[in-house]
Amino acid sequence: MAAAETVAQIVPETYKWGFHDDEEAVFKSKKGLSRAGVAEISGMKGEPSWMREFRLKALDHFLARPMPTWGGDLSQIDFDEIYYYVKAADRNAGNWDDVPPYIKRTFDKLGIPEAERKFLAGVGAQYDSEVVYHNIHEDLKKQGVIFLGMDQGLAEYPDIVREYFGTVVPLNDNKFAALNSAVWSGGSFIYVPEGVHVEIPLQAYFRINTESMGQFERTMIIAEPGSYVHYVEGCTAPIYSRDSLHSAVVEIIVKEGARVRYTTIQNWSNNVYNLVTKRMRVEANGVGEWIDGNLGSKLTMKYPSVYLMGPGAHGEILSLAFAGPGQHQDAGGKMIHAAPNTTSTIISKSISKGGGRTSYRGQVKVYPGCRNVKSTVRCDALLLDEDSRSDTYPYMDIEEERVTIGHEATVSKVGEEQLFYLQSRGIQEAEAAKMIVNGFVEPIVKELPMEYAVELNRLVELQMEGAVG
């Protein structure tokens, strides 16, 4: 095993999205945080006063709240050295031709316009702080489906946004949710009317370009009763010597009998702190699903949650984490059962290699009186060498007796016996290890639309390069 390789040796070979554009920002805030700075962002966006007040209140909360001391190492984040708002383009285009050429080139390299043509119902693209492109199929528009940048959503549908904003993730939820609430910019706003099924996925693509940049997108999905939508997000960033911060908040409202699936393929470069709060509120007989793939970043702390608020609601989390050299993936999920007859499943698969560290951190909570709750948690960790690490932190908080709760955890090494078996059929060791890892992640990959399954397998293979020497 090639354990001695440093991040610097590995990254340039395997991270194909590490290029960056020369900065041509229209506006770049001063580094650091202040009331004036927050008010300036709000002013530039021409926001209603309630949003400015919301931001300022959140800022106070952020400043008052101590840094979390659990999870990963956050001590190297210097909040005074971050650009909180970088505006790359003057407006949000509805046509790729109107996107500034240097930004368009980036998304071309990432294959986004092509993907839109081939298999997406709608696409959003965010570059640094602002959404630069947004488009949705005409027929969905006609059915009343809204898919906009969050800022545009606030401008065009202020009543809907105000009704739900901060209701699923309150501004004082945690320090990083407070930070996002103060300086948020961009993200997606999705509204699916009652009974409408969006059969093919909507995708947003997030790109950080500026060094020492903080990206704070805010996404909101409202699925009216009986509707369905699958939203997919992908993310990359250039490799800089200074770290960037990505701190998003995602709020999802799944109404009665509706279903929302949210898929993330997170592939930030290894100098990004990825500290994200994602939460769904699911009403009676609704279904909320998170498919969360974390392959990139320096440190990820992310625990997508499902609040099961109505009887018969179902929540599902499939979490996949891959930590290579210098990476720590602290991921997992939360299932909050606040109604009877609610069910949930958490499946977590993590892979650590070359000294990388993965942690599963999860919570299952059942409130008193929530009878017939069923919940299953399964965590499997795979270690590729002796230097890597995996931990499991399952929290169970069950206040009702008539429930069925299952928890299973396994840690395994890529086994000598498995390698020997595959090699005895002529397959070389490196190829054999890839097959074993791909098999390990298969339960998650098979849940993805084909294009993403192919992409995820490719990312896992890139991460595997150099894993066995």
């Binding site: 020997f420 090699q423 059929r425 002529g426 070389q428 060791e429 190829e431 097959m435 098999g439």
Partner: protein, 260 residues
Amino acid sequence: MTTQSGQDPLFVIEDLHVNVEGKEILKGVDLSINRGEVHALMGPNGSGKSTLANTLMGHPRYQVTAGRVFFKGEDIVRLTTDQRARMGLFLAFQYPTSIPGVTMVNFLRASLKAVRGSDVPVREFRTILKDTMDLLKVDESFARRYVNDGFSGGEMKRAEVLQLGILRPELAVMDETDSGLDIDALRTVAEGVTALMGPDMGALIITHYQRILNYIKPDFVHVLFGGRIVKSGGRELAQELEAKGYEWIAKEFGVLEGAS
């Protein structure tokens, strides 16, 4: 090393000594197999049968301390397991390992590609797979299952023989392929192996019991005892062992050593 026919043997083991976790298990094994021959290696538990099988395939836990193993004229002791396989050596495992998430069909295709050293066109692969499955009376659904994952004992052994039929090695080492099989399953598996054998595929059948040899007729029978081959003969030796039991060997060649 020259045989009656004047050809060099396909496979020659010379004075092979093997340690497992510091303990010597094989203490000088000699064996020679010509192309297309079927040899049976019999012996009681702990005699070193599985150690020999794993060593021949290059398992990293089995340490060769002395001796040589020639395959097609080349000493393979220092070669990796996958190199040996690509030369045409095959091991049917006594306890095959499961690989969850990897389907049989993908595994078989990757194996055939590796052994051939070139891509296998989809159409050709499908034909090979179907023909071999028909020959071994394996259900089509097998191909979509994960490698050995949740397989019954009989299914595992059938899967091993399926691999043998697809990879077509020049020498197949069969490690207790008969263990854990009921009489019907044994017949199916053994008939499958027999159908695959021929002038281009020889075998070393490792077994505790004689019963598999009722279906696969060996040209030679060897008895492994205490880490050495102590007796060799024709097919009749297997029957003699079945009739007299291994005690007879123990009396003739010394006290049974501790099982390993």
